[in-house]
Amino acid sequence: MRSALLWPLAGLLGWAAAFVLVYALHGLGCASGWQHLPLGPVSLQRAVQAGSAAASVAGLALFAAWLHWRCAPALAARGEPLLARLTRASAWSGLAATGWTLFPVFATSTCR
């Protein structure tokens, strides 16, 4: 039952992980000169950034769906209605936050 305390954090932890991953890859790519390596119509840096952001959003969408339709009902069934509601809120706000904070990968210059 200790783990029940962690589910309301899960969606937002997903956002934190995606944010750290994309920001870390950004620093690594710029330091390694990936912006100068072409990969089709874009640079390697752009491709890595856009790919990691898109993968994060897709992964978190699946995770949010699982939290909403599988995990939260299980919590509610165990007599934890508040934790179930918080788990749902955290899941969808984590997904929305990921989309919102990572959209610059499609819109701004990479390493300038």
Binding site: M1, R2, A4, L5, P8, L9, L12, L13, W15, A16, F19, V22, Y23, H26, G27, L28, C30, A31, Q49, G79, E80, P81, L82, L83, R85, L86, A89, S90, S93, G94, A97, W100, T101, L102, F103, P104, V105, A107, T108, S109, T110, C111, R112
Partner: protein, 844 residues
């Protein structure tokens, strides 16, 4: 030991409980008290005393800026004034004030008799007092910090800040941070475990939710600052170049570490104040809070998002546009959960019948000031505007709107709301209202105008300006406003003092609030509740009209004093963290001088580092270790207690025979903070390697496979042996457990020896390059933790020998095992951080 003492009548029960819970007589009693009401009050009084000192410094700053080319103070003194003003307000006022309120109020609201670790509360108080006094003494001696409250390198480095000014900040603030981490562990564990039976998470007062999440944030936010302070102090003292570009360091690493703490800190300050709003506002509006669940969800979201904003303090350091975009978006995002709370509060006011009493007046001030600060915050989140306004008085005005609006006004509301609880007396309404209007109008006169000064180009922290700059009138008016505000604060203080000395006796529950802190006499007794309630509602006093009397008559849980050979026991109930069902009875330690003595020993360590008396450092550390041993040794039992009667026909085990005793939780929580520090150190290493100029280093560690294998084997064996010791204890094989403990000690010693020998023989000098400095710091961290774990394992062996450990009483061994497994994991990661990059570089 008498388990089923007869039920006492109300007066006899009061006398019996008070005899157990009160402080001892005289000065010794005062120094030895660990009661949460005493410690909470001390924190609050000291925080307001530091607030007064910080306020006087602000007046001196405004006096200097009132006129152009002022000769009131010179630049050297002025630098100390604004640095100390910021430092005092952030570290010695805001955080400790909320800690004090939490220590005083939480057990009362949660239906408990004390916090989970009373001795830790007292230890934190002494650390705060000593660390804060160190900073104030430096101010009086003219050697106060003078590099700004965020101590940017290289300005705060040895070259640009000779003398001990910067050292005073680094050491004094770290000393105070020890107190903050103690409070974070204490608050988190207490909220999760020490509640009234039946108080499930969804029945918990919102104030406790706010404090729980704030404390959890502190566990993760403070370690990066503590690490940054250690690294900068080591650079200043020994020349290890973490922040010096020429030798592979980077000043931006300091900014990252500082703001990884600094931005969440804003919310760490705001959230407890928001908790006050969510508590006081429904009482003033005479209706339950609207959107309880949404508020909790918003607090959790706010806590997370606040960790994704730190780079918005670094928008002008030359960061690529994409990274600016990430943090600009995150900075705007944080307004959403804040907005959810503001709308919930407004909705509550809309639904209720608000009364414009004094606490409500301060809440109105909060709404106006904080929302204005939030709006200028959204302006600053927009990168192009930020570039224009950066380091101007506009930013100073914005942060004062956020912090004074988001913290000071709600805390003044809290002071008015709970004044009858603290003192038993009422304040003077007219005097209180006059104080409010002077503070409110003076504040706007000062800081609203300062926005204009910033937009006109006035930079922060300048000690003077020319008449031709055109800022004369605006500064004069701002200074006038600041003095009006100061008069308002003085009147507030006078009102409190008059209430304390001459005030009219207040009613029991003057606001007709439904939370449990009003279910006791005011001022409160030493034990809070003569018997603990069973809770079935978020507002127990509304739901159970006769609860107050019933508890006083002993009609709840633990309505008696159990005794052992040393006398009466301080007992309170612990519950399951989510459901609120009864878990066990916590037997709390009584009054002791140990917290004071331990804080003195820690203080000697810090002073020795500050004054470079390094010969004293090992003695101080040995004293800390001996006192910590004694600290643990005072508790425990040599026989199993079994289930005890807790009243109302129920029984429960005592905490040392429970799976999830507060000590188990506290150890876990402290490890979270500790691991955050370690991860921050790894981040620093990786950051420098990736971003900093002058890398790769000219010389690296020479890796040897056999050495790596031996070290890894030793650390892995240590972790396994510690875990096996626990499982042997659970299977009642204590002799075998003792042998596993010994094996774990030896394995840890071997692992550390491998690390130390390798570093001494083949790691370049830590002064040569940031690579070697980071590697040496990692090794030092691993070695320190291995030594701590070995001490704990040795303690476990002694406890087995003295009969304090059984299958039921395995808490101490389980805690030792947690730290040993952690130390082993740290050793493995450190080995990898040392060997893997070296081998990869060799392969290239």
């Amino acid at each position: 030991m008498s388990d089923a003492a007869p039920r006492l009548n109300a007066l006899r029960l009061h006398r019996a409980l008070d005899a157990v819970w009160r402080a001892g007589p005289g000065w010794r009693g005062w120094f030895a008290s660990v009661n949460h009401t005493d410690i909470g009050r001390r924190f609050i009084v000291a925080a307001f005393a530091f607030f007064a000192i910080g306020g006087v410094l602000a007046m001196l700053i405004r006096a200097q800026l009132a006129t152009p080319r002022s000769a009131f103070v010179g630049p050297e003194v002025y630098n100390q004034l604004f640095t100390m003003h910021g430092t005092i307000m952030m570290f010695l006022f805001a955080i400790p004030l909320f800690e004090g309120l939490a220590l005083y109020m939480l057990p009362k609201m949660l239906g408990s008799r004390d916090m989970a670790y009373p001795r830790l509360s007292a230890f934190g108080w002494w650390c705060y007092l000593f660390g804060g006094s160190m900073l104030i003494a430096a101010l009086l001696a003219g050697v106060a910090p003078d590099s700004g409250w965020f101590m940017y390198t290289p300005l705060s480095g040895r070259t640009h800040s000779p003398g001990i000014h910067a050292d005073v900040w680094l050491i004094g603030v770290t000393f105070v941070e020890v107190s903050a981490v103690c409070a974070a562990v204490e608050i988190t564990a207490s909220v999760l475990k020490l509640r009234a039976p039946g108080m499930s998470l969804d029945r918990m007062p919102l104030f406790a939710w706010y404090l729980l999440i704030t404390a959890a944030m502190m566990l993760v936010a403070f370690p990066p600052l503590i690490l940054g302070s250690i690294l900068l102090e080591v650079e200043r003292a020994f020349g290890w170049p973490f922040f010096e570009v020429a030798r592979g360091g980077d000043p931006l690493l300091w900014q990252h570490l500082f703001w990884l703490f600094g931005h969440p800190e804003v919310y760490i300050i705001f959230l407890p104040a928001a908790g006050v709003v969510s508590t006081v506002l429904p009482a003033m509006a005479r209706t339950p809070i609207l959107g309880y669940c949404w508020i909790v969800a918003a607090i959790i979201a706010l806590a997370f998002f606040s960790f994704g904003l730190w780079v918005h303090h670094m928008f002008t350091v030359g960061i690529p546009h994409m990274a600016l975009g990430f943090f600009s978006a995150a900075s705007a995002l944080v307004a959403v959960p804040t907005g959810v709370q503001v709308f919930a509060w407004l909705g509550t006011l809309w639904r209720g019948r608000p009364q414009m009493k004094l606490p409500m007046l301060y809440l109105t001030g909060f709404f106006v000031v904080f929302v204005m600060g939030g709006l200028t915050g959204v302006m600053l989140a927009v990168v192009p505007f930020n570039w224009q306004a950066h380091d101007t008085a506009f930013v100073t005005a914005h942060l004062h709107y956020v912090l004074v609006g988001g913290f000071v006004f709600p805390m003044l509301a809290a002071a008015c709301y709970w004044l009858p609880h603290f003192t038993g007396n009422e304040g003077n309404r007219r005097l209180g209202e006059l104080a409010f209007w002077l503070i409110f109008l003076g504040f706007h006169a000062t800081f609203l105008l300062m926005h204009g000064a910033g937009l006109m180009g006035m930079r922060r922290r300048i000690e003077t300006y020319a008449e031709a700059d055109g800022w004369t009138a605006i500064n004069l008016l701002a200074s006038f406003g600041a003095f009006v505000m100061a008069i308002g604060f003085a009147l507030f203080l006078i009102d409190v003092a008059l209430a304390l000395a001459l005030g009219r006796r207040a009613q029991r529950d003057p606001w007709q609030a439904g939370t449990l802190e009003w279910a006791m006499m005011t001022p409160p007794s030493t034990y809070n509740f003569a018997s603990q309630p069973r809770v079935a509602d978020r507002a127990p006093l509304d739901a159970q009209g006769a609860l107050r009397l019933a508890l006083a008559r002993g009609e709840g849980y633990l309505a008696r004093v159990r005794e052992d050979l040393r006398g009466g026991l301080r007992e309170t109930l612990a519950v399951h963290p989510t459901s609120g069902r009864i878990d066990h009875v916590v037997v709390l330690p009584g009054n002791t001088l140990l917290p004071l003595l331990t804080a003195v020993a820690v203080g000697v360590f810090f002073v020795a580092v500050l004054l470079k008396w390094f010969w004293l450092v090992p003695l101080a550390l040995a004293a800390v270790a001996a006192l910590a041993w004694r600290w643990a040794h005072e508790l425990g039992a040599t026989s199993d207690t079994g289930l005890i009667d807790i009243g109302l026909g129920e029984t429960a085990p005592v905490h040392r025979e429970s799976e999830e005793a507060p000590g188990w939780w506290g150890s876990r929580l402290l490890l979270v903070a500790d691991a955050t520090l370690f991860i921050s150190l790894l981040f620093g290493f990786a950051y420098l390697w990736t971003i900093a100029p002058n890398w790769p280093p000219p010389a690296m560690f020479a890796s040897r496979a056999a050495e790596f294998g031996l070290g890894a084997l030793a650390f892995a064996a240590a972790g396994v042996a510690a875990a096996r010791a626990c499982s042997a204890t659970a299977a009642t094989r204590t002799a075998q457990a003792g042998r596993w403990l010994l094996a774990a000690i030896m394995a840890l010693a071997l692992g550390v020896a491998v690390l130390l020998v390798a570093s001494l023989l083949r790691l370049p000098a830590p002064t040569s390059h940031a690579y070697a400095a980071c590697a040496a710091m990692l090794i030092a961290y691993a070695a320190v933790h291995a030594v701590i774990a070995m001490l704990m394992l040795a303690y476990g062996r002694v406890r087995i020998a003295s009969g304090h450990v059984s299958a039921a009483r395995s808490l101490e061994l389980r805690v030792a095992a947690q730290w040993s497994v952690y130390a082993a994991a740290v050793g493995l990661v450190t080995l990898a951080a040392l060997h893997v990059p070296a081998r990869l570089a060799g392969a290239c």
